[in-house]
């Protein structure tokens, strides 16, 4: 077990690609850290640098306080689980799991015992004499995990370990991974593409974009207090709604009505170089059917009317899709996020809103409905650099903060 520190770590490939740029990250002993971001943002490269499979171009990597930049993978005592599992096809499950121990020259009895233990934890005991070719995807995945845990390494690195499994198995394995990590208390760095894995597994999440870290923090904090447009759009499913907002004196003009501004924002936006256009971000759950909002809360938000397109009743709540007339929010970050999820427009296209209303709402498709949204929960972003303007000392305070 160990702490891992990345100190301004960068990676540039011989062809000039800068895959990772000045990453600073301190991973505490026993911590479970998730690296997440769109395809090609440098997650695997970062992981491979920690593993020692890629050279570090600049910066320093320290494990347990020791600089390990120039150490071979075998001298770092770190285990890795690959997306492809990378099981040795010529060896049985038992031999696969014993391989690291045999390389470490442990005696036969110890190896037997450790393999048996790991197999028991991962429920692999009946499969020990099979070859990987005769295992199911989930079983292969467990063997890969087994091979990582047998030698009790200082840290685990996992590169999208569950992405090859089908949805159901993935949920199941997610809890296995989580339980295993808690049980062993081993420092873990986990790369994923998957929202849910990022939100549920880790103690802290690192969001990367184009090789640079965007924000680091516990999942809930990233969700509630995104530092920028990219993080806001990346975390959350369905994702945050983004609308174009024009700055006017004391208020913002948007497709969902005028948004009043608190003192702090007004002061900030009064500056010479302040942006005249902003992007308004509202999470789906911060909308509500105007008829269901009590008098007390009503004052904290504002209302608007819009035609309802689709209603999806989930039982516990209703997802309601609406169209509002108005300009579509545009920023480089949003394009990138849209490209990553494979949609042509982010946040539901031109000015489409996704809202999550209470189940009691009587909203019906085709009608015009009055909706309310919470001004304390909205975010405002500077489209030029994506910065979250509502964030004050790391906390988002909505539009009205004074």
């Amino acid at each position: 077990m160990a702490d891992i520190v990345l100190d301004k770590v960068s990676k540039s490939f011989p062809d000039g690609t800068v895959a990772v740029r000045d990453v600073d990250l301190e991973i505490a002993d026993g911590e479970f850290v998730i690296l997440v971001g769109p395809s090609g943002c440098g997650k695997s490269t970062t992981l491979n640098m920690i593993a020692g499979l890629e050279d570090i171009s600049s910066g320093e990597l320290r494990i347990d306080g020791e600089r390990v930049n120039d150490r071979a993978p075998r001298d770092r005592d770190i285990a890795m689980v690959f997306q492809s599992y990378a099981l040795y096809p010529n060896m049985t499950v038992r031999e696969n799991m014993a391989f690291p121990l045999r390389l470490a020259k442990l005696d036969r009895a110890t190896i037997e015992q450790k393999v048996a233990e790991a197999a028991k934890v991962l429920e692999l005991t009946p499969l020990l004499d099979r070859k990987p070719a005769n295992l199911s995807g989930g079983q292969r995945q467990r063997v890969a995990m087994g091979r990582a845990i047998v030698r009790s390494p200082k840290a685990f690195l996992m590169d999208e370990p569950l992405s090859n499994l089908d949805a159901k198995l993935r949920v199941q394995m997610r809890t296995v991974v989580s339980r295993l990590q808690k049980q062993l208390g081993t420092t873990t760095v986990y790369v994923t593409h998957d929202q849910t894995e990022a939100m549920t597994l880790g103690d802290r999440v690192v969001i990367m974009r184009g090789g640079a870290v965007q924000q680091i923090g516990p999942p809930q904090e990233l969700y509630d207090h995104p530092a920028n447009l990219f993080v806001a759009g990346f975390i959350g499913s369905p994702s945050m709604n983004f609308l174009h907002a024009a700055v006017e004196e004391e208020r913002l003009r948007t497709a969902v009505g005028d948004v009043p501004l608190g003192d702090r924002l007004r002061r900030e936006l009064a500056a010479e170089d302040a942006p005249r256009e902003l992007i308004l971000g509202i999470r789906p759950e911060h909308f509500e059917d105007a008829g269901l909002v009590d008098e007390q809360t009503r004052g904290r938000g504002t209302e608007f009317e819009a035609p309802v397109e689709i209603v999806e009743s989930m039982g516990s709540d209703k997802y309601v899709y609406l169209t509002v007339s108005g300009e579509r929010a545009s920023a480089a970050e949003l394009e990138e996020l849209a490209a990553d999820v494979g949609a042509d427009g982010f946040g539901g296209g031109a000015a489409n809103l996704v809202t999550r209303l209470s189940a009691e709402s009587t909203v019906a498709e085709g009608e015009n409905r009055r909706l309310w949204f919470n001004l304390e929960k909205i975010h405002l972003f500077d489209p030029s650099n994506g910065r979250n303007l509502t964030l004050h000392e790391g906390r988002a305070a909505g539009a009205l903060a004074s």
């Binding site: 499979l53 075998r74 890795m80 990378a86 099981l87 040795y88 010529n90 990987p132 995807g137 292969r140």
Partner: protein, 279 residues
Amino acid sequence: MAASDTTVAAKWRWGLLDVVVVVFALVPVLWIASLSFKTTGTLTDGNFVPREWTLDNYRTIFSTNQFVRALGNSIGIALIATAVAVVLGTMAAYAVARLDFPGKKALVGVSLLIAMFPQVSLVSPLFEIERSLGLFDTWPGLILPYITFSLPLAIYTLSAFFKQIPWDLEKAAKMDGATSGQAFRRVIAPLAAPGVFTTAILVFIFCWNDFLFAISLTSTERSRTVPVALSFFTGESQFEDPTGAICAAAVVITIPIILFVLFFQRRIVSGLTSGAVKG
């Protein structure tokens, strides 16, 4: 495969085709085998199955020093050339498949060039070179050109096999604590084994069957190989027909190849890498 391929009619069609191919390939071989068992008198009687069986032809070839020496030369030269070509080829192919080094394209290009070069045009220069280097009519004098001309083949076959082995396996081995050498020996090499054996067979057959270099670069029994020795076969006397003896020798020299292939074929199991990675 479509369902129609497994119908009875299709089975018959394929079966018939297989028989035709096998007969076509085997009849000349069997004919030679048959000739080798015939007596001089019945040699030309045109029977497929010999009327009078004899082992005289075999006795003859093994009683002449000429053939036994040639057999020894053939085995020695082919085995050494194969071993060296496979070892060098493995290393080169591994580099070609795995590394991005300067001059990689040139290396591949040059080896392609060698493979395509008409060997006949190289015989005279090689003859001159070997004579001035003192390699003419020696084992190395044949082993060296065999290695040269089989290496491209070896590199191509082997790099195709190496490319099939998932990169991740090697990374996994390194993470598991293996040195590069250990990763190669314990993970990559076992998986590349079918490729190595296939290559070994191909190279061995090439060396074993070569006639062109063997006849041009040798002059005595010291290093003459069997294909050449066969062409020098004469009967006991000028009037004796050596056909029977040549056939017997031909049968004898196919045996090592069959053994070699059978021995290695068991190791050429396909799908050895399945299960390593998903998909």
